[in-house]
């Protein structure tokens, strides 16, 4: 089951971090329609996050049409995100891992990698990202 982890130092509000993690899991195919999300109490027990924060994130995910909460029965994934072929996702992930390893070997640190990736993504996708926000 999805394990939610919080970056307590991040300026991103915790409820948005939860929303983003579920979205990421949907995009990566780790969560698929029909999967049950951990209950609010399960998230509190596993990661010590405020239950109101988890509830708020689940409400938000419900509004986005990504999950459905059934009274007393938990929350279930109802949609997928992204339309990439899962095999293609795996292939490019492996290539990316190779790229990261080579860059680290060449002495680049994590921040360098993030800046590089962000710069390339911005150049190649500026038209799309301005639409998608």
């Amino acid at each position: 089951m999805l394990e939610i982890k919080l970056d307590r130092g991040s300026p991103t509000p915790p409820y948005l971090q939860v929303v983003n993690q579920v979205r990421d899991a949907l995009r990566m195919g780790w969560l698929v329609p029909g999967d049950r999300l951990p209950s609010v109490r399960e998230v509190v027990a596993s990661s010590g996050i405020n239950p109101n924060t988890v509830s708020k994130a689940y409400r938000e995910l419900g509004l986005l049409g990504l999950i459905e909460s059934r009274q007393g029965a938990g929350s279930y994934v109802t949609a997928t995100l992204g339309h990439a072929d899962p095999h293609a996702m795996v292939k490019f992930r492996v290539q990316l891992e190779g790229w990261v390893a080579r860059a680290r070997a060449a002495g680049l640190d994590l921040e360098d990698l993030k800046v590089l990736a962000a710069a390339v993504l911005n150049e190649s996708g500026s038209a799309r990202s301005s639409v998608a926000g």
Partner: protein, 306 residues
């Protein structure tokens, strides 16, 4: 993006123009805020800011000199019409000759509603010896006995004065987790005072900041974060834009302003040399505390307790 449909929230704790004076010195003044039911609120401020006084007033240990502090109605379906309040006081008052087991027995006799299993379970979880006299327990163990007493009373509202002080790091995490589970399971409202701002993100959802007996910030944390931003740019005396500056800090060439604006997301900046970045909870609190510090003493509200 903001929280979806408005959820009707009833007030659990409401202070209106609340004030308390010790002789001529105001420990707390003109304090107005409202903590909704089922929330976890952090009460933050430096020593002598009035945190304990505020908790004492809310717990009914002290009588206010001005205004009122009201504890809201019990959750619907509760047996008693008014909310049940438990208070973990800073000095963890226990009878020194009583054992931990005696204290729980005492709790059972003097509370109309009492959850013996919960209280014993708490002591068991944290390995507190039941048969040892309270004056022979460590500071951390005394805290656990006092917490077990507070939780055994099955409160609707739990007031905790520095609940994690004198607990070791691993126990702090476990106590916080169990208190949050209580909120999830029973809808308990928690108001806790603390110095350790780094432990707050992700755990509390409501914030009350006191400085020198005055309230400087209060509200839902997501709302507060969404309404503040840092503006960074070339050195200047004032922040660009119409927003309220909370705190300014300057280096040789650059200036940074924490501003409060209304609405979601970073404020629209027209000047290209300025950049807006979101603010995290820790920075938000520290900047409000620092801002009060930056101000000359004669403007800051003056007469405060020690």
């Amino acid at each position: 993006m903001n929280g979806g449909p408005a959820v009707m929230e009833t007030s659990s704790l409401c202070a209106e123009d609340l004030g308390k004076r010790y002789r001529k010195t105001w420990a707390l003044r003109e304090c107005t805020f409202d903590v909704p039911s089922g929330r976890v609120a952090a009460l933050v401020g430096p020593n002598g800011a009035g945190k304990t006084t505020l908790l004492d007033l809310m717990a009914g240990v002290l009588e206010p000199d001005t205004g009122s502090g009201r504890v809201g109605p019990a959750p619907t379906g509760a047996a008693t019409p008014s909310a049940r309040v438990a208070y973990l006081a800073q000095d963890r008052p226990l009878y020194s000759t009583f054992t931990a087991a005696d204290m729980l027995d005492f709790g059972r006799r003097f509370n109309r509603r009492w959850d013996q299993a919960r209280a014993f379970d708490w002591l068991d979880t944290f390995d507190v010896p039941l048969r040892r006299r309270c004056d022979r327990l460590s500071g951390g163990q005394r805290t656990q006995v006092a917490l077990a007493l507070a939780l055994g009373a099955s409160p609707d509202l739990l007031l905790l004065d520095e609940p994690l002080a004198n607990l070791d790091p691993i126990v702090r995490v476990e106590v916080a987790r169990r208190l949050l589970d209580l909120v999830a399971e029973q809808g308990t409202t928690i108001v806790l005072s603390t110095h350790v701002v780094a432990e707050l993100p992700g755990r509390v959802d409501y914030l009350v900041v006191l400085v020198e007996g005055r309230l400087v910030l209060a509200g839902d944390i997501d709302d507060l974060l969404a309404a503040h931003a840092y503006l960074e740019g070339p050195r200047s005396n004032d922040a660009p834009g119409p927003w309220v500056t909370v705190r300014a800090s300057h280096s040789e060439r650059r200036s940074r302003f924490l501003v409060e604006h209304s609405g979601d997301g970073p404020p629209p900046l027209t000047h290209p040399t300025w950049q807006a970045t979101p603010v995290g909870l820790e920075d938000l609190i520290m900047d409000y505390l620092q801002a009060a510090n930056d101000r000359p003493a004669d403007l800051a509200g003056v007469d405060h307790r020690g």
